[in-house]
Symmetry: D2
Subunit: 474 residues, 4 copies
């Protein structure tokens, strides 16, 4: 359900020897294509002959990267970029990425997507030997480890390889040194990362949709635990052949909600994964109805799947105000009460007198869903059959998806019947947990569905599991 | 096709004796719901005990009406608001509405949607007796005529009645005097205007979707030539019974493109009108295919209609970047070439190897359509059957829809076969002109389809018909 | 005393056939030089071959005229500009000047400095024949009268001549028609206006300091009641020879406070007028002391005069924060209490143990003066002899200087002895009223000292005299 | 001469147990009083019960600290603030101070004024053991050293004491730990730092003028090499009794240009130091003349001294536009040529036909002085005797004053006679180097006049002396 789950981050990197290609423009457009992964802040670092210049700020890509800033960043043959997810905390500029820092061997710029589960330990270890931290960002930990490792390592990629042995958690990263662009993905491949090319130029991005925007050709996904180095010497791939891909933990929520439907992640189309989730729902929880409609935008694909499978006509039940999100509406009393109405309107003529199947991607607190169903009733819907294209959220995510705390998750508090009653639906069904593992047709990796199952691809330190809730309670 | 046709304006008015209702907040939310009708500028005027305070500026509603401005406008029992369509000309703040002016009897605030065809004559006549004009806005002409008429008239509504005899063209207006809120619609009812209520408070808006956002109840459309006066004395309706509704000229393009799908205009649902256009296309121009998809957002409803009528499965073929329009992308070289890709991505997995019917609401210059089809081909679509849910644009609109000049309209330059070839489709069809008059099921008024037929509900002065093209050529 | 009196407006006009001269840049720099006359808003209108383009907004000249706006206004051979005085009312963009309007004969842009005393009558008269007013600015009245008069007049300057017969009050104006730049000054010459040249290009400005900034040569002051027309045909001077210059009423407060010290107005140096006021005070009210210092910035010149005349050493007693005024300090509780300290600091080492003569240009409410004297005492000044380089304010100004209402004027409430006691000085003296008429050595015109004497060069309508106080009480 | 020398930084710290005192407001007002020391960026960090929240950005104090930011920082009992000097490089937000970082023992916020001469060595040493640097700011080096030292130290102040042994250069710093506010000054006391109190609350600031603005009482200057710790346990002073104050090197340029005239630094009044410089010039280089005037603002005090000593009347020769600096004037061609005129105007009536002594604080490139003299000649000055209230700049400053490179310094290129000729004066004199050491009457410390003498209180590393010019040549 919109606005209740915060997106992930998006990363991008480019290495180009083509003088026609302006690396900052490519980064700008790629981040714009990845904007759905993070709207809080964004940044780009450009490497011009070993000198790295960067800019980052709170705000959307086209707002932050105005012509003056673009001019400031022009030139260069490498760039890394990042967009970061939205939180309610403002003024968090320091945490924006890429993080740029000087060390013994020059300058590094790092942008990553994910969360380390052992960051507290790593941080404590570093602090105990005199490290200082200016951000609360794991990127700073990684840069520290890299700087220290590099002292006794012949190359930055070897340093990275060693550092990766110490990192536990999710990270898909792009790293820029004075002469190299490096991409790497954690051994469980929890967050997506793929490689493409524009002519001879190499690009990396969190999602393939960025390549489509650039007109880049998709080459392949970065493999679990792999490090890819791009430099004037060419491309070097450091694969970890020991990894069993079926035991990886690619985040299933990327398919359910986070990624853009036009992306293909690790072999599976996001759009079709959602459609498949809808089909599974239709098979498992059929109902007699006149119309299937999805809650825009994230429920639309699954609704289409439900309609195709069930044979019930697909239709439009809601109109979303296309300007929502452009800028924050001033929060007045009137608006809080009307928050759903401002975003969505029921297409009364479509639902009036009808038995409607409403499909949404997920349910978090349940209040927005309840309001939506109330509006549907007022518009004259005769029956409302709510179908959620994912299983109940009952566990925290330790790898970067920002879900509500347990006490706010409706599925932690209520049974399915109670939820159905509370939100005012006639019937209510979740996608079965097992089905989650079958929606991403063609996916070459094992999936993490920890938020639904409580089983994670990495052991979670005890301080983390406790911390998770303390943090939320504050 | 997105971005090639500029929207109309949107108007709103409220009269409330309910102290719980903050009129400026209602106006804010209503304009936000009407934002699709105009993104260039917006304004609100509030009447607090006869004192009218106003604010207007270039920008989107939530940007212009920040908390400081909202505070400045708080209080009052009446408000009128306006949002204005986007043009390439910047810095046009003077032309924003509502236009507020003092005259002999106090202050008036006027917001209207439409265009007068005899404004040049009216302006010349006023100037010849010493009038000065600070804007190029027809609202200023109307206020002048009202001010002069009012001298010998017992009431502002009688003055308006007399003035309306002199006005030729499209105008749906809300007018606020120190003690009255007045709504009126031209005798041909070219632009929409409807009346609703929130409890005892009366509201007027260009489209009913604004009422849904406010939680207001729709009462009825303002009738052709009607004047409705709301004051402490109640509601007075000055109808013009002589008007033959079937000879009115409600703009058919409101149903095709301008209005929000969830609005109901003069008895007909916009969503269903578009769906019906799609159905008509399917009946008249069937084709064997595997998938029907619409160009987002304005082609989606017609695509659904085509799919329902033809039995070909409806699917998603394009993903639109949801952040497009949030803020203007910096115009770099790279971006101009890639303008379509930045906005839309093809859902390759959906169209690959398929025979695809692509439905769009209209075609203007044809270049965007050609680019879109090229991308579809690259994504592997086997056949592409383009269906346009409106007839060919071959004439100017004199009533406010901002269409390209003739030399840029593809339908003025090429035959249907030539268009098909130029844009690279396998087959290409327009909606038949006759069908336009049948899509808006339930519409109580005659329609104007002048942009397709060249027949207008009002005679167009010669200076206008010539001027139209001069203006564009500049 | 700083911040208690609001400045006037400043006007500028240029006519240039020299392609090297960019008229908008000249206007920008001239307005920047005249910025002290008005900080609320500013505007420039440029005439490029008869087409007038303008821009105006709230804010200081360099903020409003950013590169984008300057680009928008480039080109042209004529320009008029205006800066407007600061009030507490925000969001008053509509009232900014120049006022640009179309009328029968083309477009006019008008910028003026002053206030009409019969604007209510003129406005009522115009309204009774159907005029509408979008501003509360007298410029709109003038443009209306011009538009009406021009109907039966062969030229805009003849129309202006006739209109000036109807205007009562202060106005120094620049008017731009499609082909002419016109400057005019009211018959009493209440506000300054002068003419200069840059090569063959003609410029007009409120004060000569603007010419110095441009590197323009001062030609002469515009004479009382004179109209000067500049066009491709050359310069035409329409003088009113019937006017007795000694009966004019040039605002004496221009010399005391408003104008920049480096300006020469109607033959008299502003700096020397202030120095002379200080000398007069020294002659009339001598005192034994160790140091003479002025309250920055407006008391400095008179302090120097007092020192030179008395032989007491001139010194620096106060340091003003040079960033005051750059931007408004956020108004917190702490700051209100410390408002004087934030702006001024006492130079303790200079005043400690000294008998100090403190000179200020004027005293309005007296609270700031009292605070200043308190700080001086705390810094160890042994005696404080306050000298005000103008007589007591006891009457309103009807011609544009924005003085406090009577109940707030300390000189209306208290005797000189009471003032002395209340502000905490050892001695306290005002400049004698007679002396005011002698400070502006070389001034060719009679002066208006109405705010001190109650005698005005023009009869003030009764509604005005009453209105003046009602307005303030609101 | 204005605009040719860049100011230093300003620092502020407060420790308050008084609930009436809002520490962020005090910091805001203090930084506003210190704004002349740095206009590029500013920042405040607030400590609320051990949690440190901070905000910093490019811009002037009242612009950066808008109400939203102030709200974000409210509460707390300690704060440190900083304003940073202006450079042409934009977008340097990362380098703004205070620098806040977490380390083993909590969070530290550091703001300092000065420059280390051994920062390259320290940085290299830290990098060789794995440090990463996110800024180019010496504060980061200090925080690193503190973090490392603290591991084996019982308290932060002992760690600071040890770290100070490694630092070579100028630094006046305020450091905030979770429970302590610490101020320290380098052993040579190159930059000023003083302590005051508001009731029981303790404040530190670069200059005493900040205390006057706050209404704080001056206690004393921080001594060379001293560390002062303020905590709930009271005040602890760690003095270094071994330091010979007469061998310290307080920057003499603080007296000549940098500091505000109303500040008292290490016992000497800045205003009187400047006046004394003027007196010395008058004694050493007398001339027959009619008028002494200073170049605003920094030459005014010395001009007054020259006048008092010589008996030649002091007068105003220049009027500075009070809005200069409020915001950057758009740089157009016209403006570059007229840059002096835009800032300064000659008071023609004061200088015409006179023999004028013009006093300025310093001369850097000489071009502005030449322009000023040219304008004086045009205004009719008969003779122009230029007196510079400091010796010739011929050496770099390694401690933070940003002077031009040698090839741009007029005194490096030309003899005094050649300078006189080039700038067009009749006579031209510098203050003797010896006199510099006598102007600051009452100063308890030895002075550094390295920029004039080439003798520095600290040995400058060879890499620095070379680097200094490379840097400028870039």
């Amino acid at each position: 359900m919109f606005d209740e789950i915060h997106e992930e981050c998006g990363v991008f990197g480019i290495f180009s020897k083509d003088p026609e290609i302006k690396v900052v423009e490519e980064a700008y457009l790629a981040l714009f294509a990845l904007q759905h992964r993070g709207q809080e802040s964004c940044g780009i670092a450009v490497n011009d002959g070993g000198v790295i210049v960067s800019y980052k700020d709170l705000g959307l890509v086209p707002d932050v990267f105005n012509p003056v800033v673009m001019k400031h960043l022009e030139g260069g043959s490498m760039a890394v970029g990042h967009c970061r997810y939205a939180t309610s905390k403002s003024a968090n500029r320091e945490n924006a990425q890429p993080l740029v820092s000087k060390y013994k061997k020059g300058t590094l710029a790092l942008a990553y997507n994910g969360t380390l589960v052992n960051s507290a330990e790593l941080r404590a270890e570093l602090e105990s030997t005199g490290a200082i931290f200016q951000t609360t960002n794991d990127a700073e930990i990684m840069l520290y480890l890299l700087a220290r490792e590099r002292i006794n390592c012949p190359s930055i990629e070897m340093a990275l390889k060693n550092v990766m042995k110490k990192l536990k958690g999710a990270y898909s990263l792009v790293l820029m040194s004075p002469s190299k662009l490096i991409a790497a993905r954690d051994p469980k491949a929890i967050r997506p990362l793929c490689m493409g090319k524009i002519g001879e130029s190499i690009v990396f991005a969190s999602e393939s949709c960025a390549f489509d925007t650039l007109g880049a050709e998709f080459i392949r996904d970065v493999e679990p635990g792999e490090i890819i180095v791009v430099s004037n010497e060419g491309i070097t791939e450091l694969k970890d052949e020991s990894i069993d891909k079926s035991k990886c933990g690619l985040c299933c929520f990327e398919y359910i909600y986070t990624a853009r439907p036009d992306s293909v992640i690790d072999g599976a189309s996001v759009h079709f994964a959602r459609q498949e989730a809808g089909r599974s729902l239709a098979k498992a929880y059929p109902v007699e109805a006149d119309l299937v409609c999805g809650v825009p935008d994230s429920g639309l694909d699954a609704a289409l799947g439900y309609a195709l499978e069930s044979g019930i006509p697909y239709g439009v039940g809601f109109i979303k105000n296309r300007y929502i999100g452009r800028t924050f509406i001033q929060s007045t009393q009137a608006q809080r009460e009307r928050s759903v109405k401002i975003k969505l309107n029921i297409l009364k003529s479509a639902v009036e007198g009808k038995r409607v199947v409403v499909v949404d991607d997920s349910i978090v607190r349940g209040t927005t869903t309840a309001n939506t169903i109330k509006l549907l009733r007022e518009a004259g819907a005769k029956e409302i059959h709510m179908r959620i294209a994912s299983p109940p959220f009952i566990n925290p995510c330790y790898f970067g998806t920002d879900i509500e705390s347990k006490e706010n998750l409706i599925a932690c508090r209520l049974t399915i019947d109670e939820i159905c009653k509370q939100i005012g639906a006639d019937t209510f069904c979740f996608l079965d947990v097992d089905s989650v593992f079958n929606i991403a047709k063609g996916c070459k990796l094992g999936l993490c569905a920890g938020c639904f199952t409580g089983k994670y691809p990495i052991e979670i330190p005890t301080n983390q599991t406790e911390n998770k809730y303390q943090q939320k309670i504050k």
